[in-house]
């Protein structure tokens, strides 16, 4: 018969948050079994833009983002691998007076939650970004935002968790989960895990798992359409965004320029996100208007992936409303990369201490208690 394991915590999902939770739980001395349906970090964690960004976030996410920002500085050392984190700064451009007013409003409000931004007028922006093609009326600079390599972070967290004694199972999609006594049973092919706690960090599969405990919520798939160029002369020394979110660009030291181009499409059969050529061409056009200096480079790759979106664009993070011992962590709505290391620690806090010092009340799953399937859901929109 199959394998039977008893453990303290079963984690369904193998993205950065899930693996970071495994690390934090092991640090606290709890046993962990993590089940990932493919490879750790290969889902949304690995295919996103790679922005390590506090600016532009919904302010309710700032406590999480602040906690994460402190972790990013020491992440490569913690993981024992270079995650290519650079605190290159993030500049968000205002292309109209209305945009500028919005940036100023945000800047005031953000200061109160620990994010200090510098407003730049037209001339200051020109001095900072002399290669800018677009006419801008101003911008907001967040000097300690930055970028990292999303492809390596998830796998590195998984390896650290493994070194610390977590039982990490890849290619192990969860087939069922239910309450058993005061704990849980989670099954996969040939495997049955009994655990005191269950973490739902299953990304695209989180909705199904939540629904199994009577907490169906309106999660929709979100496929970012990503584009990267060949290496070229390095000159884009800040991560760039715009009000409206339709342009976001960064350049790595090797010279490749990475930018977004709208949405990809979901291949339901394979559960994979795929790039969309029309959107790639539109993304190219929009980005060239902002940074004409990349016009001579070649696009060498496009890709997509499947992230999860909540209608209010903030995640679900916190204890289950129906089942004690179940913790939810999903729906990062296109901006989970920067906060993921902190999300992992919060998950561990909730299990080890029953609470967390980081403000997460706004992310409670109970905000959807009156939602029923069939209600119209918002279309996707991601601000960068």
């Amino acid at each position: 018969m199959g394998e039977r394991i008893t453990t303290d915590v079963a984690i369904v999902g193998g993205g950065i948050a899930a693996c970071a939770a495994a690390v934090a739980l092991r640090r606290a001395g709890l046993s962990v079994v993590l089940m990932e349906k493919r490879r750790c970090g290969a889902g949304a964690s690995g295919v996103n833009f790679g922005g390590v960004r506090r600016q532009g976030r919904d302010l309710r996410e700032m406590p999480l983002a602040n906690r994460a920002r402190l972790l990013w500085d020491g992440l490569s050392a913690l993981l024992g691998e270079d995650v290519e984190f650079e605190s290159s700064g993030h500049i968000k451009l205002a292309r109209s007076e209305a945009d500028l007013a919005e940036l100023e409003r945000y800047s005031h409000a953000a200061r109160a939650v620990g994010l200090d931004l510098t407003m730049l007028g037209t001339n200051a922006v020109r001095a900072e970004l002399p290669w800018l093609g677009e006419r801008v009326v101003g911008a907001s600079l967040s000097p300690d935002c930055g970028q990292a390599n999303p492809r390596v972070v998830g796998p590195a967290f998984a390896r650290l968790a493994r070194r610390m004694g977590a039982d990490i199972r890849e290619f192990t999609p969860a087939t069922g989960a239910w309450r058993a006594g005061d704990g849980f049973v989670v099954t996969a092919e040939g495997l049955e895990v009994s655990a005191k706690y269950l973490v739902n960090a299953a990304g695209a599969g989180s909705r199904l798992l939540a629904a199994a405990f009577g907490e169906d919520v309106p999660v929709t798939p979100l496929m970012p359409n990503m584009i990267v160029t060949e290496p070229m002369r390095y000159f884009i020394n800040r991560s760039i965004g715009v009000c409206g979110g339709d342009v976001y660009v960064r350049q790595i030291q090797r010279g490749n320029v990475i930018f977004g181009g709208g949405m990809g499409w979901l291949d339901h059969e394979l559960g994979l996100g795929r790039p969309v050529s029309d959107n790639t061409l539109d993304g190219i056009n929009r980005t060239l208007q902002v940074i004409p200096g990349i016009a001579q480079a070649q696009v060498i790759r496009t890709w997509s992936g499947v992230d999860s979106q909540m209608p209010d664009h903030i995640p679900v993070l916190g204890p289950s409303a129906t089942t004690p011992g179940l913790i939810h962590a999903f729906g990062f709505s296109g901006h989970g990369f920067q906060i993921a290391p902190a999300v992992g620690e919060v998950i561990a806090d909730l299990i080890v201490d029953g609470q967390t010092p980081t403000a997460i009340a706004d992310f409670t799953i109970t905000r959807f208690r009156n939602w029923t399937p069939g209600t119209t859901e918002e279309t996707t929109h991601t601000e960068h």
Binding site: R39, A42, G46, E81, R151, V152, P155, A156, R159, R162, T229, E230, P231, R254, W265, R274, P275, V276, S277, D278, T280, L281, I284, N285, L288, I294, A295, Q296, A297, Q298, V299, I300, R301, T302, W303
Partner: protein, 458 residues
């Protein structure tokens, strides 16, 4: 009227559209190059007055193929200088002239995308002056140019004696023709004579002529090294007895068999299967030419390595399948003839692969410092460190963590070698490490202001 799109104007694609046009369809033939012929029959500039001089035995085949589209005229919609850079379902993303984007929705697709040289790294292989054998041939046939003044040719397939013969005939100074696979495996060909006497005779002819022409032909090598200060100045190799040889040269044409171009088949959703004979992943293809996807067909080297003669048979065979699937009547006698010719060719092909076995020994002595990824200079040592320290067991994970396969060539040059090396590190069969997933664009696409994309009316 069904819109049938054929991608690739080499021998397979040309014979495919010929067959479809003759049946009254008007296929669309899309090709990346400006002139038809593919690579093996790459056209010389301005029409060459003396094709026989450059092509040798193949001159009449080349001429017939080059003239094919002109002969068919308006019965084929020919779109040269057009790159198919992405496929979504059967909707093709096209880039014409390097700057005109458009899209076309096909009812049926025939992928005749051909092949490229198979490359294995060796010390010095990124020095200026090292080219593939295919490149050496293309330089000669399409440009009348040799890759150097003192040329060494190194190979592990029938392309080697052919290019040696062509270079010698054209008056190039050839200092070496080295078949790394050795002489002994060629004895297999004696048995294959029955399957394909003409081709074997031709091969033997090349060997004989090359020897008579004074070209030093050598058989068997365990290691290779290109040496020189900033450019090729010599080739060092170790023969199968362990003796070291050095020869002065200023150019090396070297590759080890062929590798199918399968990226478009991958994007079209075709299932792939590992072929142990050629040690590579290829799209699943029925003998009739169907892929695993309804309405997507495959023919020629892009589906299974077979060479130009097979491509000229597989093209019409697949075209007849397309016609039959569209409800046309096809001549069973013609089908039977093609099928038996293809079967004969297949038997010969198997023998040929055994006559030129994969030169695994060349990978055994690679130093950590050797460059594996040519595009970005990533070393064999980086691959080994990823396996030993970062739990890498599969090629896409290797790509994500080391950048091998992330350069401009998207793994065309390094992918197969990376898989072989990864398999060695893991002590598993190369099939077990998987294959690199294709991403659009299948070749680099310029950023500069794409003109407004246009859609082909259905």
């Amino acid at each position: 009227m069904s819109r049938i799109v054929v991608i690739g104007a080499g021998p397979a694609g040309l014979r495919t559209v010929e067959c479809l046009a003759e049946a009254g369809l008007r296929p669309i033939l899309i090709d990346e190059s400006r002139r038809p012929g593919g690579q093996i029959y790459r056209q010389p500039p301005n029409g060459v007055p003396d094709a026989a001089r450059l092509y040798g035995f193949e001159a009449s085949k080349a001429t017939a193929l080059h003239a094919l589209l002109a002969r068919l005229g308006d019965r084929v919609e020919y779109r040269p200088d057009t790159l198919v850079w992405a496929i979504e379902g059967k909707r093709l993303s096209l880039l014409t002239g390097g700057n005109q984007h458009s899209f076309i929705e096909a009812d049926a697709l025939v992928l005749t995308t051909g092949a490229m040289d198979r490359i294995l790294p060796f010390p010095g292989w990124t020095l200026p002056g090292v080219y593939t054998l295919g490149a050496a041939q293309i330089a000669l046939k399409s440009q009348g140019v040799a890759i150097g003044r003192r040329v060494a040719l190194v190979g592990a397939g029938p392309l080697l004696p052919l290019v040696t013969h062509q270079y010698r005939k054209a008056g190039a100074e050839l200092v070496l023709s080295l078949d790394v696979t050795g002489l002994a495996p060629k004895l297999v060909l004696a048995g294959a004579m029955l399957a394909n006497p003409k081709t074997v005779a031709k091969g033997l002819f090349y060997l004989a002529r090359n020897a008579l022409g004074g070209v030093p032909q050598r058989f068997g090598a365990k290691s290779l090294q290109a040496i020189g200060d900033g450019r090729v100045e010599g080739l060092v190799w170790q023969d199968n007895a362990g003796r070291s040889h050095t020869i002065a040269c200023d150019a090396i044409g070297v590759s080890f068999g062929l590798r199918s171009e399968i990226q478009l088949a991958d994007l079209a959703g075709c299932a792939m299967a590992f072929d142990p004979l050629t040690r590579q992943w290829q799209p699943e293809r029925s003998p009739e030419g169907r892929s695993s996807v309804a309405g997507v067909y495959l023919a020629g080297d892009g589906a299974v390595i077979g060479g130009a003669d097979v491509a000229e048979l597989a093209g019409p065979r697949t075209a007849l399948t397309v016609l039959a699937d569209l409800g046309h009547k096809v001549d069973p006698a013609r089908l039977a003839h093609l099928d038996s010719a293809l079967a004969r060719q297949r038997r010969f092909r198997v023998a040929l692969e055994h006559a030129y076995p994969f030169p695994a020994a060349l990978l055994d002595t690679l130093d950590d410092a050797e460059i594996l990824c040519r595009c970005e200079g990533i070393t064999v040592g980086t691959l080994r460190a990823a396996v030993r320290g970062r739990d890498v067991t599969e090629i896409n994970r290797l790509k994500a963590l080391t950048r091998i396969g992330m350069g401009r060539c998207q793994g065309r040059v390094c992918g197969q070698a990376a898989a072989e090396l990864l398999a060695r590190e893991r002590a598993v069969e190369v099939e077990a490490v998987g294959r690199l997933r294709s991403n659009p664009p299948v070749k680099p696409v310029p950023l500069q202001a794409p003109l407004a994309a246009s859609e082909d009316a259905a």
